[in-house]
Amino acid sequence: MSRATREAYRDCLLPLLNGHPDLICLDTDTGLFNAEYAVAAGEQYLNLGIAEHNLMGIAAGMAACGRVPFVNTMAAFATSRALEAVKIDIAYNRLPVRIMATHGGLAAGHLGPTHQALEDLAVFRVLPGMTVVVPADAAATEAFVEQSLDVPGPLYVRLGRKPSPPLPASPPPVIGKAQTLRQGGDVVLACCGPYPVLACLTAADVLAVHGIEATVLNLHTLRPFDAEALVAAARPATLVVTVEEHWCNGGLGGAVAEAVAEAAPTRVLRLGVPDRFVDVVGSQEHLVAHYELTAERVVRTVRTALDTAARSGTTDRKDTT
């Protein structure tokens, strides 16, 4: 069943609050938590108003006194408006603040570039000590919120806005470990987030029909990055393609390119949102299709790259049709 990852977070947090009196949920009037929720959470829920820098500062102060705050804002505001407090007050002090960032990637849809977050993964993954995760569906969101109890330092969780489809049956997602959704020796499809992961799974099916076997890695944790699993998959492959709802630079594609360049001489192609601000109107699905973060594009990209490689004799593969 399709479900919004932000709602999955909200619903699984409540029992966690009840069971852990040191946890607290701090909100910036995001609208995710209604009056009933506030009553159910009691004094463990506080709406601090629309002030994201203040949110991060108060959370850091509380965390320094032993509390574990879950703070709520949109990914766009966590990343840019509140960044200095995130960097200095939270990351520098290695404090266990959980930054629950909704409207990640293109999830803000028609709300436009002021509300879209296409740089958050690049920004958060360079902060020392930060853990950065992108759940691909509601079940992964629940798993990561539960696992957050064992994350000693700060955590950034990129969430969506509207319902997105669940992944097919897959191994349980574990923070810090690449999730191998499919294994194949020819190419690696590395991805994170609901639509990119589903696109890669579909693309792998199509590629198999053409005789190309793909490994699909859900690299849901950008930091600490599971470079070992990535490199192990990339080393024997001809090509790595990354897919993400993020500007092409600095996000998952950047992390993959860095790791592969250092350890496995395999070509990396990055698919993401082009290097400009979004200038079209539409839903998340519309924007994902507009920027071709789709199975068709992944298939095309892989086949073109392998054809070119075959023609230039840089691979043993003779038949990629």
């Binding site: 203040n54 991060m56 108060i58 850091a60 006194c65 407090a85």
Partner: protein, 276 residues
């Protein structure tokens, strides 16, 4: 702790000033002016008001203090050393390789709760302290010292709104109102008066004091909260570089590397004041 007698507060303040002068004569220099303007506030806090124990800096029941105007680090280091958080001799290493005494306070220094330096962070952090303390059911207090130039940062007022809304009456802010920032008068660069009215408008209990009268500062801080349900702010009227005639009241005192000659001049001026 037992309140320290007034003459002792004065002599402590004098020792802190002389440490700051020494540190500012080191290779890197330091933020002398803004450290000197808050010496009596720091003295009042650490030698009369704060419930802290240098032998147990992590005591969960302690009062917490943050120097939000982190550039006055030299003043804080001298105060912490005088109070016994670390040896006074360590001050000689300030700004030098191998020392933990950076130009802005860091957590590695005993007694420093959280690092500060980028302006506009301390009040929200102190709100977090006060809120967490309230959840714990403790009556300890959280103090934060802000610069007046720092009040130009919007995040200060975000936190001011939150503190009043949350009725954090165990939170006490002090504004070091020396009237000067790096390049000149705060009132010329971004006027803040009527400052007391601004804080009142944000829902705070406000008092004003001669910020160089440590005894009065201590009395006011000891009495907080002044109004039930409201956070307190003490506006300490001070002089940047107070105590050094050749620097006092001048924006140029903001960051100083004292030459050997000026170090001697400064020490002479402090001794003259001390014996006056």
């Amino acid at each position: 702790m037992t309140a320290v007698q007034v003459p002792t507060l004065k002599s402590v303040a004098a020792r802190i000033r002389s440490h700051v002068v020494d540190m500012c004569a080191g290779p890197e220099g330091g933020h002398l002016g803004g450290a000197f303007s808050c010496v009596e506030v720091l003295t009042a806090l650490y030698f009369s008001v704060l419930n802290v124990d240098p032998r147990r800096p992590d005591d969960p029941a302690r009062d917490r203090f943050l120097l939000s105007k982190g550039h006055a680090a030299v003043g804080l280091y001298a105060t912490l050393a005088e109070r016994g958080f670390f040896p006074v001799e360590e001050l000689a290493g300030y700004g030098r390789p191998g020392s933990r005494l950076m130009g802005h306070p860091v957590r590695a220094v005993p007694g420093v709760e959280l690092p500060t330096g980028s302006l506009g962070h301390g009040l929200a952090l102190a709100c977090g302290f006060a809120l967490a303390t309230r959840y714990e059911g403790r009556d300890s207090r959280s103090f934060v010292l802000l610069g007046d130039g720092e009040l130009q940062e919007g995040s200060v007022w975000e936190a001011a709104i939150a503190a009043a809304t949350l009725r954090l009456d165990r939170l006490v802010a002090v504004v070091d109102r020396n009237g000067l920032q790096l390049t000149g008068a705060t009132e010329r660069i971004a006027p803040m008066e009527p400052l007391a009215d601004r804080w009142r408008g944000f829902g705070w209990a406000v008092r004003e004091v001669d910020g160089h009268d440590a005894s009065q500062v201590a009395d006011h801080l000891a009495a907080a909260p002044w109004e039930p349900g409201r956070p307190s702010v003490l506006i300490a009227r001070t002089v940047k570089g107070h105590g050094l005639p050749f620097l006092a009241g001048r924006a140029s005192s903001h960051y100083v590397t004292l030459s050997k000659r000026n170090h001697a001049r400064a020490m002479g001026a402090l001794q003259a004041t001390d014996t006056a």
